[in-house]
Amino acid sequence: MAVNEAIKLRNNRLAQYYGMFTVGLIIFSLIMGALELGAGMPKAWIGWTFLMLTMGLYAFIGIMSRTKILDEYYVAGRNVPAVFNGMATGADWMSAASFISMAGTLYALGYDGLAYIMGWTGGYVLLALLFAPYIRKFGQYTIPDFVGTRYGGRWPRLVAAICAIIVSLTYVTAQVVGVGIIMSRFIGVPYEWGVVIGLSGVLVCSFLGGMKAVTWTQVAQYIILIIAYMIPVTFLSLKLTGFPIPQLSYGQALQNITRLETELKIATESKARDGSGRVIQGGYVPAYNEGLSNAAAVTAINQINTYFGVNITPPKAQSIPDISKPAEEIQTDWRGTPWNFLALTFCLMVGTAGLPHILIRFYTVPSVRESRLSVGWALFFIFLLYFTAPAYAAFARWEILQNVVGKEISSLPEWTQNWSRLGLITQRDYTTLDGRDIDKLPAWAAPQVKSGALVINDANGNGKIDLAGATFSETEVDGKKVGTFGELSGTVITKTSVDGILQFSELNIDPDTIVLATPEIAGLPYTVAALIAAGGMAAALSTADGLLVVISSAIAHDFYYRIINPKASMNTRIWLGKTMLVVAAVIAALLALPRLALIAQMVAWAFSMAASSFFPVILLGIFWKRCNGPGAIAGMIGGLSVTLFYMYSNYVDPSFNVLGITHLAAGIFGMPVNFLLCYIVSKLTAAPSQEIQDLVDHLRSPELDDELMTSIAGGKQAAGAH
């Protein structure tokens, strides 16, 4: 009882601290807002104050939680209460992409984007029912620990450790890119400096206190990010619908989007070409109208060529359906079918449950009972943001269809002009080129000049494009219509492309813009934008923290301690863990500097890779006693190979596809292969030892026995080391 009392007291104290922090954050934001509106505090000051204060806080928590105890360094002393572990998992999970880009993805994809919303939440059901209680019962330090102990010997551990490092390193690099972008956009420091400042914030925290510091920082980061996410959209909802709960009121936005899309003739209907009579509806609410293309691959390879000065031939640009080809040549039987949506949702769910940095969070709770509850809290806290993201997207879509599309470019709302200037919104009407230097064309127009679709005839020789007083005329050359408008001519010059009115097809919006521009659309002061920046930083840094712990423990614990030197002292292990943390951070920073588009795409692939490697092996390890080491290795290698093969083939050539499933959902093919191989090879080889089968029985019972587990995990490894 005395123990329970002490735990209760500690939980109350924690709730008090974080409650005070929440109130403090709100009061601080109000004061900053008042200073901005009342005393005209400059924007740069506001931005810096928010940044310094939040980073200072993370450093403070890091210093307060510094530790030299191994259990605290790797698994936060295994005494994080369920609710707080839920918040920490939420922050760990929600990355820069969730916070800043997801609403923009939904804006662009409409219903089809909901695969991400369902996938990244539904995965937690799998985690709760199939993994979390047993991971806690196992009670070691890393996921390779589990794979290595359950399947015996060093090879399964090695394969698992390498998978964990590859997945986590790409993921952490994407976070570092996010940090650099947020810093440069809001504080105005160069991107490279943003990367360095952000990373030092991560390091102060995780270097001193490992998982313990990371956990308590993540709780604070969750609070910052969720408040920052909720405020702007609440005001936007109030402004557009007069009702301050966006999650309930965006139905009205959806209605208006559908109406405006019909009025603006964006909503199209086409018959499927397979003779089934299926109707494919375009637009925001109708489902399954996405095509396939390899534009991402072309961009990524061109960027690599430019940055590294190499010469890889990019694949020939393709998109399906290709409107320039006659109908029968196009392979689009899958258009309007749900298969890609379902496959993507499934891969994201299964991948979520198989990601090491989320799984290790369930080592840190005190008991199996708390681990089950903790997944519930984690999903609840994640749910708050994912429930809200579609509201951001719908309001932005409504606002843009209502006040931006079909309007004269000279009279667009101010926020559109501001974000166009930053290059996040592109307006492809050729009248916007008036007065531009010919050798400094925007990125959308330059390739058209190269390909000959756009010709610039600098009649007065001033090096600028002059369109003043120009009128449109059209002639036919070789059966193609060629337009002329002032000093511009070419096939891309048409009546609508030079009318000074922004058509929907002429508008291109960077996914990040939706969340970032919402404070401005809602007419909120800059303080709110600074809060958003702090929230985005919190999302990126908290995820980076969790990932760096996975990488450093995979090296220090699995490679060094478990495989190379099982006699290493506790001090050596902590010291090596800290060193690896810095090394991983520096590598992530170096990878982040080129800002490769490929990195963001690799993160999306991580889910398919986790789904076809870790997920089946951990699942069978718990639920099927007969599963053995050779089966697990065969499954992981086979599953991953099939996934990588489909991924690569479809990525470069979208006409390679099964039922229109994209490379992002390639795991749907690898995962069954993993299960099947694991089953067949396990059946063909000897059953695992009695000791391992007993271990599985132990895992299934919720009575905690950390010492016994450690002796099995350690004993097995010591034997394997000889």
Partner: protein, 93 residues
């Protein structure tokens, strides 16, 4: 209840595991139905509107998410009862 008291530890764990698996199967069926059945009929469901939300869209963006959260908390609750039934409580509780 009396037969549980007479079971050996291994028997209790086996029976507990069986019940656990049955619960998991039921909850995963609900999970699957909510996540993967409505998308098959999304355009038909969208004909129905609730508070401005087309129902197909509403399933993907809200209903399924709420069901996911409830499923996990229910599992935690049901398993606590199961732990007690088979006398397999955590050491520190």
């Amino acid at each position: 209840m009396s037969d549980i008291a007479n079971m050996s530890r291994q028997e209790r764990i086996n029976a507990y595991w069986k019940e656990n698996n049955r619960l998991i199967a039921i909850l995963l069926t609900i999970w699957f139905s909510v996540a993967y059945i409505p998308p098959l009929f999304v355009n038909q469901l969208n004909q129905i509107t609730i508070a401005g939300f087309p129902l197909g869209y509403y399933f993907g963006s809200q209903i399924s998410l709420i069901v996911f959260v409830v499923l996990i908390f229910y599992y935690a609750y049901a398993m606590n009862k199961l732990d007690a039934k088979y006398h397999l409580k955590d050491r520190d509780k």
